[in-house]
Structures are given as C-alpha cells and as structure tokens.
Amino acid sequence: MSDTGGAADLGAFAELFGLEAPAVPDDAPAPRRGLFRRLRESIAASQAQPISPQLAGIYQSKLVSDDTWDDLEEALVLADCGMPATMDIVEALRAEAAAGKVTSGDSLARALTDEITRRLAPEPARIPLGDEPTVILVVGVNGSGKTTTIGKLAHRLTELGQKVVIGAGDTFRAAAVEQLAVWADRAGVDIVKQAPGADPGAVAFDAVVAGRARGADVVIIDTAGRLQTQHNLMEELRKVHGVTGKAMEGAPHHVLLVIDSTTGQNGLSQARLFSEAVPVSALVLTKFDGVARGGIVVAIERELGIPVAMIGVGESIDDLQPFDARAFAEAIFTPDAAA
C-alpha cells in the first residue's frame, strides 16, 4: 500500500494541480491502470473474499433477471450510495437494458461502472495552482482525516517542486498542532502555528501572510474538526474563511471537504451544511483502504454536484491519489474475478 507507483502517480497529481507533468520514463505503466490496481488492492483483493454476494450474483448471471436488479439495488445501497442515487442508477440501467444495450451480467457490470464514472466525473475535479500562493482551506467533521491528508498533500506538492507552508488552524483539539507538526516535518515543509486556544482566524491569517512573505506556492490551512450542525462552529468557519480573504484577496482559492469513506447518509448533511458555510470546491475521500465503499460521494454528487479531487488509501505519507472516477467505480463495483 505504500508502493507509490512513482512517476505515474506524480503525473496524475501534476494534472490535478494544473502543473507541468514531471518527466515520465517510457516504461512506466499508464497512470490509470496503476491507480486502478492499487485501489483494487486496497479494497479486498488480497482478502480472498468477494466484494459482495450481490455483485458476484450480477456477474455470474448469464441473463439479466428481476433478481439481478434486486442484487444491483442492494449492491448500491451497501456501498452507501443512498436510495435516491441507487434508484436513479438502477432506472438508467433498466432503460439501457430495455433498449437492448445490456443483456448479460457482464455487460450490466460494464454499464454500471460506466454510469458511476459518468456521474462522478462530468468534469475531472481540479485544484489549479497559480496564485501566489494558492491557499487551500481543509474542513470536515471530527476524525475525518484532515490533518493526515494535509501531510500527504504537502508531500505531493513538494515532490512536484512546490514550496508549501501549512497553517495549524486546529487550535482546539488536544495536541492537534503537534500532530500536524509531525506531518510538516515528514513532508519537509514549514508550519505556522500559535499557542493552543489561539484564534483560528488569526492562525489562518498568519499562515497566508507568512506564505506570501516566504514566497510559498501553496498554503494549506488545517481547521478543527466540527460537526456540521454546530451552529457556532460553522460561524467560526465562515469567519476563518473571511479572514483568510483579508490576508489575501481571493483566498482561500480552494476549500476541500474531507469525508471518511465509512460515512453513511449523514455525509449528505455534511456536504450540504459545510457548503452553506464555506464554498466547498471538492471532496477528499479518506480511509478508502478499509471495507467501506465510499459510495456517499455518489449521493453527494447527485444532490450537490460537488466533485471528488483526491482519495486517501492509507496512513503513510504516499497514500494519497488523485481521484479517478473510473478507477473508483471499477474498484467498488467489480468483484475479484473480473479484476
């Protein structure tokens, strides 16, 4: 899982950030296949268990029957896609079957991954850099994986030759600053921090100012985890967002909402309410290396149209990948046999 795929990965990241791709050796695997394989590995291929009996059922069936549609519905629900998105997808595929485009289990499976891919990536999510510095605000509920993601992101950007400064905006949680400091150290980047209990807006402001002064290319600001229903904390987040804008016009240029792959339908409430507080540009789906399918991003896309930019696949510094909708769809919805 810590195998990075080297240059191929970096190329994909360069694309994500709108940077020039680093030189890729001729014999490097095509990025998507490399990503797909790693995603598949992280799901359960090595565990010798099928993704789900429902999916196995779909693949094993020669013809598409009523049972197949039931299996499909269940597979999508089990993946946390939620009923509304599930119904939409099943309806779309039924229409294709009625039109004669889907006849066997195999072609249904392909149609499914096509459909999911289409939904998740009408346009690939981008985090263009280019401002000096580009300021990225990272938000999300408690325990979602913000701090770890920032560490990984700082590392990737550094690999791409960007100068990164991190702002330790979680001034509330015990040892949150220390945790981020370890990551800053691992990634070899500067960290801007203040004493515990300091005003998070002040830290954000400082980080942007420091970033500009030091000629940083990217400033990434961490925030404290907060539940989207905490009215006063969402107000605080608005404030941090606003203060960042005072430090630099147009900042923050991107707001990333971090969502844990194990999240159920509450993810919709998270996306909705965080978006009302701050302009969420994209999602980062974390902890994808577990049993959870992360289908909540499908539900979020359906309701709010927020794209996924990156996906976290482990606790090591390299375990971050640009989101590839097809790779994700194939990782979730194809059983081992077809891998």
């Binding site: 408690n142 994986g145 015990a174 040892a175 539940l227 905490q230 159920g264 339908q265 409430s269 959870a292």
Partner: protein, 439 residues
C-alpha cells in the same frame, strides 16, 4: 410525533378510509416506506431485512388489519421492534472483582477512542475511583501527546513511553505501573485500525491477551454507514468486545449504526458521546435511540425553533420555567403559536445535548399541519390538565382526542414527549439555556 416515517405511512394508507381491509399490496408499500426510512438512517441492510420481516409478520396480523388507524399501528410496531432490538435497560460498565479493572478501547481510525478514553476516565474519577490511562497508540503522530494533554485536563495520570514501538509492551508496563501506584482502573487507548488489516487486528488480539481486560469497548462513530455490520463482526470475531460507545451523537446522524452493531453482535451500547468536551458522555437509552433512528423528536425541534425567535424577555421567562421543570403545556402552546406567526421557519439551531434531530424541516406546509394538531389537542384540555398533565387519565385522553379531532395515540405521544422534554429541560437547566441558543 408526526415524523417522516409517519408521513410516508400516512401517504401509503391514505386512500384506505372506508375501503375496509388492507391488501397485501398496501402492506408491501408500507414495508417499502419503512425500509427506506431505516436505510436513510444508515441501518445496515441485513438488519433492515431482519426488522422488516419481523414487522411485516406483525403488520399482517390483527392489530393492524382491524385498526382504524393502520398507519399509526404500523409506526407503533416499528418503534417497538426497534426498541426491542436496541436492547433493554442500560448495562453499565463492569468492574473487576479485584483491582485493577482493565478497559481496552478499540475501533477504526477517527472513531473517537482517545477522547472517549478520557471521558470514561473522568467519569470513573468522579465516581471516586483512581483511574490510569495508558497510551498505546504508538502509531498516529502525537496520539500519546493527545492523551497526555487530556489527562492533564481531567487530573488523571497517563502512562506513556516516548518512542515506544510495541503497544503490547506499553500495555503491560501500564498495568504494572497502575498496580504499583494503587490505581484501580486502567484505561488503554489503542491505535485506530482497519478490520481488513490482519496485522493490526492481530496486534489488538495480542494486547488483549497480554492484559486480559475486564472490558473491551468498541468505539463506533454515529455517522457510520452500511459497513457498521462488517466492522462490528470483525471486531467481535477478533476480540469479542463487551460493549460499544457510540460517538459524535451530538450531530444529526440518525445513528442506525448503533442498531446494526447491537443487532448483529448482541453487544450493548454502553454510552453515547455527545460532544468534544470530556464531560460529554451519557448513558445510552434504547428507546430514545429507536426514536432518533425513526426520525422522531419533532416536539423538541419545534421548541428549539420557537426559542430562536422568541424575544429576550420571553426567552428568560421560558428559561426559568425550563430550569425549574415548571414549563406547562400552556407555555408550550404559547410557544407553538409564536412559531406559527413567524411564517417560514429557517434553519434549526444548536442541539439539545443528549438528543438528536437538528436538521431542516422539509417544508412549512407539513409544519403547519403538525402545529395545528398539537394546538388542537392542548386547546381541548382543561386548564388544570394543562397545568398538571399527570392527571390526564384514559377517559380524559379519549375526551381530548374526540374534542380535538385527533386520536388517543396522538394525545399519548404528545404527553409522552412533553414529559421527556421536561426531564431534559431540567438537565439543560444545569448547563444553561444560553449555550443551547447558540449565543
């Protein structure tokens, strides 16, 4: 009392009046509505299936078929089945026959283990015990530091070993240190781990075998989706945990994961976490959880909204009454009328600790109808009934139902929820209403 599920079921059964018997198709539609509601609440699919089978069996029986209000009967059945599945009375934390009691915390990354280790330690210290926390998350950056800071905050010592790489050794050392220092409860925080990470699951088993805990507690995030079952079963298989703590319940997650964990492993939910602070730990109430999963609790949402718009002086008056537990149904009616006057209702604010259900109302039309019915019920009560709802016996309930054009069941629900609300208001009285108002 008129929640999303009730609405759906009312919709399903709405064409029924005068038609007589329910058909199989009616029941199937109802089952579908129930299934949808439970899945929305993140109850795992296999548990939903188990539940709907049990519910359908009862729903096709006499109690629904011969009822004049089949929708309400079905809701009652769903509530009962859910509460039954959630488990009976609260179990509490087991103490070892001879000290130290050892509690091992386990769970996925980010579930809230470290925070809840501290919450438990604080609770135990407040009960007069001498806890020691042991920092066995040697993996995550500054995890041990986090526990140390929390230990400082609550005045509980922490055993940690800077630079340690073997959590099993640290755990053993921690127990030894506790014995030397005469600490009678040891709480061991561990690293978050994935259930499909065999090495990490083995490590947890090794820690357990080394310390032979009195209890192994699984910390589960209330917002966990369908994989709650997989996670619970995996931890069950590996370490046979004794109970769970459901964390982050102060949000608007319906918390179906709780039902999934309980239904599939049979293990009780011991506590719920209701905030980030170290005192935000509460006992688990199966009936309240069942209501929450079903999306019930509107009476309290209405109160919250009313509070948002009531003027300062009024708010103070209400606050005093709430603190003292003297809020009457008349006051409640007053509040509701104010809410009606307001027109479209905006976002629900803050949370009442220990409850769920912050979330937007679907649309004002529905609210109006609900408020109408509640208003009608209270208006049909005598002044003494409003002042002392305890005197409202069976025949009074029937009279009130008839007078208001509602049902005895609705009257029962209002009174039950009002009573529940009063109890909670008293508790808030300790914390203070202003904080609830999000000031």
């Amino acid at each position: 009392m008129f929640d999303a599920l009730t609405d759906k079921l009312q919709g399903v059964f709405s064409g029924l009046k005068g038609r007589g018997k329910l058909t199989e198709s009616d029941i199937d539609k109802a089952m579908r509505a129930i299934r949808l509601s439970l899945l929305e609440a993140d109850v795992s699919l296999p548990v939903v299936k188990q539940l709907t089978t049990a519910i359908k069996e009862r729903a096709t029986g006499d109690e629904v078929m011969s009822s004049i209000t089949p929708d309400q009967q079905v809701v009652k059945i769903v509530d009962e089945e859910l509460t039954r599945l959630m488990g009976g009375t609260n179990v509490g934390l087991a103490m070892a026959p001879s000290p130290p009691t050892v509690i091992l915390m386990a769970g996925l990354q980010g579930s809230g283990k470290t925070t809840h280790t501290a919450k438990l330690a604080r609770l135990l210290a407040a009960e007069g015990r001498a806890p020691l926390m042991v920092a066995c998350d040697v993996r995550r950056p500054a995890a041990m530091e986090q526990l140390a800071v929390l230990g400082d905050q609550i005045g509980v010592p922490v055993h940690r070993e800077e630079g340690a790489t073997d959590p099993v050794a640290v755990a053993r050392d921690g127990i030894a240190a506790a014995k030397r220092a005469g600490r009678d409860v040891v709480l061991i925080d561990t690293a978050g781990r994935l259930t499909i990470d065999a090495e990490m699951m083995d490590e947890l088993v090794a820690i357990r075998d080394a310390v032979r805990p009195t209890s192994v507690i699984l910390v589960v995030d209330a917002m966990t989706g369908q994989t709650a079952v997989d996670v619970a079963v995996a931890f069950q298989d590996a370490v046979q945990f004794d109970g769970a703590i459901l964390s982050k319940l102060d949000g608007d997650a319906r918390g179906g994961a709780a039902l999934s964990v309980r239904a599939v492993t049979g293990k009780p939910i011991l506590f719920v976490g209701t905030g980030e602070k170290v005192d935000a730990l509460e006992a688990f109430h199966p009936d309240r959880m069942a209501s929450r999963i079903l999306g019930m609790g509107d009476v309290l949402s209405l109160i919250e909204k009313a509070q948002q718009n009531v003027d300062e002086a009024d708010a103070k008056r209400i606050e005093e009454k709430m603190r003292g537990g003297t809020l009457t149904l008349d006051d409640f009616l007053d509040q509701l009328r104010q809410v009606r006057k307001m027109g479209p209702i905006g976002q629900v604010m803050g949370m009442i600790p220990g409850l769920g259900q912050a979330g937007k109302l679907k649309d004002v039309q529905v609210d109006e109808r609900r408020i109408d019915r509640v208003e009608a019920i209270i208006s049909s009560m005598t002044l003494s009934e409003r002042a002392r709802p305890d005197i409202i016996n069976g025949s009074r309930r029937r009279r009130i139902a008839e007078g208001s054009g509602t049902t005895v069941q609705e009257v029962n629900q209002l009174l039950a929820q009002f009573k529940q609300m009063q109890k909670l208001m008293k508790r808030i009285g300790k914390g203070g209403l202003p904080s609830m108002l999000g000031a």
